[in-house]
């Protein structure tokens, strides 16, 4: 409805402006000269002033934007390398604002200052090696510095030292959900290929690989604070991109290959929630949600739940119709909590055994089609499984 009103207003505005130009045209009836559609001194004067006004608009709009929306931008990075990224970003922003301020100022100021007049004569100024040298060399030097800093940061972020003590986690993408696989005790991920996908083994892990035996598959990502996490990404169908904005981390997931990204989280979820900027942001979001809820309830809908902050893993590469809802919660725990959480999880081997055991009594019944229901089944029969596992382990 609002948009309809906007459109009606616009149409009326357009009509009004059209009528205005008609008036302009009529005032020029007397002068039947053919250059009536070429800018006159009067036009130059008016347009020159508008140029100046537009410069003011750009400056004011920029400042307004910074004040009003500056707070929306991602704040404190939650990873170690994030500080490096944000530092480079801030330096670049200062540079951009300085250059933007000066060049736009010159552009529109010159436009205003040199607006045409019939008595005016332009200066024939065709070239100047000195000036051109200045504005080739200054950008070159500035960019050289930015490039060097950028490459230093890039190399630090992207190359993982093989000997480093890291936790290996696989991020597995498929339309339209994320799954994580932990390497288990041996900290080596078992081999995998989509051709091995079967039943609860939804990631196609090669169960004949000794390294795969202790792998753990979960649908919520937990990582410990202060440890380097080495993510290995895979995709089973189309391109996806694992984007964790708060950690300044992103890498595409490509079917047919394993990509990687590593970072060290520096705030637990609980700590990050308590940061002053985050408290303010969440309060603001909840205020907006409360307002929206009132609106929804009035329409007979249900109100929205209040929001608490969680780190997120989003898909950031168009991957299909539900691309807009492909996300996974990321939890940064203290190292102790992380250990505890992980120890409560069953390994993939156990999951497979459990599924097999669950299927046996219900012969003829088709295996559950989605793995989340499969997981539920697993949980339900976990006790009976323990006995089976013990038996197998003895063998």
């Amino acid at each position: 409805m609002t948009s309809l009103l906007v459109i009606i207003v616009l149409v009326l505005l357009a009509v009004a402006l059209w009528q205005l130009t008609k008036i302009f045209d009529l005032t020029q009836v007397g002068s039947s000269s053919d250059d009536s559609q070429v800018a006159s001194d009067n036009d130059n004067n008016i347009q020159g002033y508008i140029m100046f006004g537009f410069l003011a608009f750009i400056y004011i709009f920029t400042i307004y934007g910074l004040l009003k929306w500056g707070g929306l931008a991602l704040h404190t990075p939650a990873s170690e390398h994030g500080l490096l990224v944000d530092n480079l970003m801030n330096i670049t922003w200062v540079l951009i604002f300085v250059v933007q301020f000066i060049t736009q100022g010159l552009l529109y100021w010159f436009s205003f200052k040199n607006r045409g007049h019939k008595d005016r004569k332009a200066l024939f100024f065709a070239d100047s090696s000195k000036l051109e040298a200045i504005w080739s060399i200054i950008p070159s030097v500035v960019l050289a510095c930015l490039i060097l800093y950028g490459l230093y940061a890039w190399n630090n972020i992207m190359f993982v030292d093989k000997d480093e003590d890291v936790i290996e986690i696989e991020l597995y993408a498929q339309q339209f959900k994320w799954t994580a696989r932990y390497a288990g005790q041996d900290n080596v991920l078992g081999k995998a290929n989509v051709r091995l996908i079967e039943g609860v083994n939804t990631l196609g892990v090669d169960m004949s690989d000794p390294n795969a035996q202790d792998d753990i598959v979960v649908s919520e990502l937990h990582i410990p604070k202060g440890k380097k996490i080495h993510f290995k990404m895979r995709s089973q169908d189309v391109l996806h991109s694992a984007y964790m904005p708060h950690f300044r981390a992103q890498m595409n997931c490509v079917p047919g290959m394993v990509t990687e990204f590593a970072f060290i989280p520096t705030y637990t979820t609980a700590e990050y929630r308590e940061l002053p900027f985050m408290i303010e942001k969440v309060a603001n979001i909840n205020k907006l949600r409360a307002e929206k809820s009132v609106e929804l309830v009035a329409k007979g809908g249900t109100s929205l739940d209040p929001y608490t902050f969680d780190y997120l893993l989003l898909c950031n590469k168009i991957c299909g119709a539900s691309h807009y809802n492909m996300q996974m919660k990321v939890v940064v725990d203290s190292p102790e909590d992380y250990k505890k959480w992980l120890s409560e999880k069953t390994t993939l081997t156990q999951d497979i055994k459990a599924a097999a055991a669950a299927e046996k009594p219900a012969e003829g019944v088709k295996a559950p089609t989605t793995d989340s229901t499969a997981k539920d089944t697993v949980k339900a029969v976990i006790d009976t499984v323990k006995a089976v596992v013990a038996k197998v382990a003895m063998k």
Binding site: M89, T92, I96, F110, L143, I147, R248, I318
Partner: protein, 600 residues
């Protein structure tokens, strides 16, 4: 002997006469006259532009008021894609995809380059027509055909291509992954293949014409900057478009004949597909080997038009003519070795990322030179604010604003976190979308009298420019912030992320500016189409310009000049030359005795 010669001459005359008697079909439809072909490109480009912009308004409305019902959706998208007026998520992606494709290729490549290269190359270098008029005609009609096929894909059962304008496989290869990757994608690929053939024919024609058909005295360093940019653009096109064609062909093989160039290890819809050994990253390389030069194919002609218009309307020579040529060449060269900056996080070796960061940031240097040279051109000028001049100044402004954020995106480290967010959209829409559109508008306002022999209404032009200028900043400036907040692009709605709830107000503001800006393009359309018929009659050289196209008669004739082609004696920027009393000296005016060349 002499009688025979006379006879020959007569026969020739007769043939000539015959040539002039065009039927409606040979004059307006299958014309081989470059001026008519230019107009055909322009009109087709404008129609495609209207479609592309309307699409963007539709999905902007969805983003501002997600999943709300609008009658207009139902009317335009039909019951299947907008039941009860609520836009479906797959048509959202299709709109985004086709908007990108249409604007980049059909409006800003063919509509811009096709129009002005065709119109200005023969006229400004002093040639009677293109090197091959016939090939030129074929080029236009292939473009038209590709446009028709692209639009027809909007009407197929499962919907048009919807894998993004970059059509990355496997999404674009597998109909199981997204419905648009069925017939819709096939039509997209066929359309693009034809488009590329059209573009190559056009480009070859431009190159040959510029090299061979320049009039006497028109040395390469006396060419207007428009011609330089068209020439270089054509060269980049010839180098890079075939690579996209190969990518499209390989993708067609993968889709239809079971090859595995781009696909490997895929499990979808409950089954393993046979593909093995291919790599989607290979497609990304092939695509961006065209895709990146493509943005320069779009922006360079706009730069050329703006340079020319700025000099004319400043009544001053363009500052640093040779530096402008050098920077165009530098940009063209660098543009072919920077494609990897679209792929920093694609999974390619990070070392390559370092190399591409280096080459990418280098482009800032020639770009800075151009921007500063334009600004200096305005300095101490006698600026005539015709609408074309306003759009030119606007183009420099948006090129700077959008270009500066390129320093962030071109830096692999910073790209990690803003890649594929709204920050990218803000950046490229300003630096190549809006800038190139401004260049195109500037060109239309400036050369309309040459095309139609009539003038556009300047007051409507002023309104068109200022509203567009405010709205362009209003749309894309706030977009930087929601990108910095981490909002991914190509999301049908953000309501599944409470984290982004505080961005909703910004989205409403952006859409409002977009709707206003879009609506005011009607002012331009009215001005354009009514002026073709009812505009004030133009004089031969309304802007008092120095270049050769203004020495031709207002009424179009085959062969451009009624008599001999003018000779050229000077560079194209003798404005306010202190050796002369008038403030412009056309290129075909001989040097005065003892007149010195005052420029490098």
């Amino acid at each position: 002997m002499s009688a025979e010669a006379h006879d020959h001459g007569h026969e020739h005359d007769h043939e000539h006469e015959h040539h002039h008697k065009d039927t409606f079909i040979t004059k307006y439809i299958f014309s081989i006259d470059h001026k008519m072909i230019a107009k055909q490109y322009l009109i087709t480009g404008i129609i495609m532009g209207i479609i592309g912009i309307v699409m963007s308004l539709l999905f902007r409305m969805q983003l501002a008021w997600p999943e709300e019902s609008f009658k207009i959706f139902n009317v335009l998208l039909g019951d299947k894609f907008a039941p009860d007026g609520v836009m479906a998520n797959d048509i959202y992606l299709a709109l985004v995809t086709i908007h990108g494709t249409i604007m980049v290729f059909f409006v800003l490549t063919a509509g811009l380059s096709g129009t002005f290269s065709n119109l200005l190359i023969p006229l400004q270098i002093g040639a009677r027509d293109m090197a091959s008029g016939f090939m030129n005609m074929i080029s236009y009609w292939l473009f038209f055909l590709s446009a028709v096929i692209m639009l027809s894909s909007l009407f197929v059962e499962a919907g048009p291509a919807s894998a993004g304008w970059t059509i990355y496989p496997p999404l674009s290869a597998l109909p199981q992954a997204i419905p648009g990757s069925g017939t819709g994608m096939t039509l997209w690929l066929v359309s693009m293949a034809i488009f590329i053939a059209s573009s190559l024919m056009g480009s070859l024609n431009y190159i040959v014409t510029v090299i061979n058909l320049r009039t006497k005295g028109m040395s390469m360093t006396r060419l207007p900057l428009t011609i330089w940019t068209f020439f270089v653009t054509a060269i980049i096109g010839v180098i890079s478009f075939p690579v996209l064609l190969s990518a499209a062909l390989l993708l067609i093989f993968d889709r239809s004949f079971g090859t595995s160039f781009f696909l490997s290890d895929i499990y979808i819809a409950g089954e393993v597909l046979h593909y093995q050994g291919g790599s989607p990253v290979l497609f990304e390389h092939l695509f961006w080997f065209l895709g990146h030069p493509e943005v320069y194919i779009v922006i360079l002609p706009a730069m050329g038009l703006v340079s020319e218009i700025m000099a004319t309307n400043s009544r001053k020579p363009i500052f640093g003519y040779r530096a402008m040529i050098m920077s165009v060449l530098a940009i063209a060269f660098l543009s072919t070795i920077v494609w990897g900056h679209h792929m920093f996080i694609s999974g390619m070796n990070p070392f390559l990322g370092s190399v591409f960061t280096f080459t990418t940031l280098l482009i800032a240097i020639p770009s800075a030179v151009k921007a500063f040279n334009w600004i200096t051109t305005l300095w101490k000028g006698n600026l005539q604010f015709n609408p074309a001049m306003l759009f030119s100044i606007g183009m420099v402004s948006t090129f700077i604003t959008g270009g500066l954020t390129g320093i962030i995106l071109g830096d692999s480290t910073l790209d990690i976190n803003v890649h594929d967010t709204y920050f990218v959209i803000a950046h490229f829409h300003l630096v190549m979308g809006i800038s190139a559109l401004y260049g195109m508008f500037a060109g239309i306002y400036h050369w309309f009298p040459k095309m139609y022999g009539r003038m556009l209404n300047k007051n409507l032009g002023y309104i068109h420019f200022w509203v567009t200028a405010v709205c362009a900043y209003g749309v894309f400036f706030p977009m930087h912030f929601i990108g910095l907040a981490g909002l991914p692009r190509r999301y049908y709605t953000n309501t599944n992320f409470p984290l982004f709830d505080d961005l909703q107000n910004v989205n409403v503001l952006i859409t409002t500016f977009a709707l206003v800006g879009g609506a005011f393009q009607l002012v331009f359309l009215y001005n354009f189409f009514s002026s073709i018929f009812y505009g004030k009659k133009a004089v031969q050289n309304p802007w008092k310009s120095t270049t050769l196209e203004w020495t031709t008669p207002v009424e179009h004739i085959h062969g451009n000049w009624p008599g001999e082609i003018p000779h050229v004696y000077r560079w194209p920027y003798d404005y306010s030359n202190p050796n002369h009393d008038v403030d412009f000296v056309p290129q075909n005016v001989p040097m005065k005795e003892g007149e010195e060349v005052l420029h490098h």
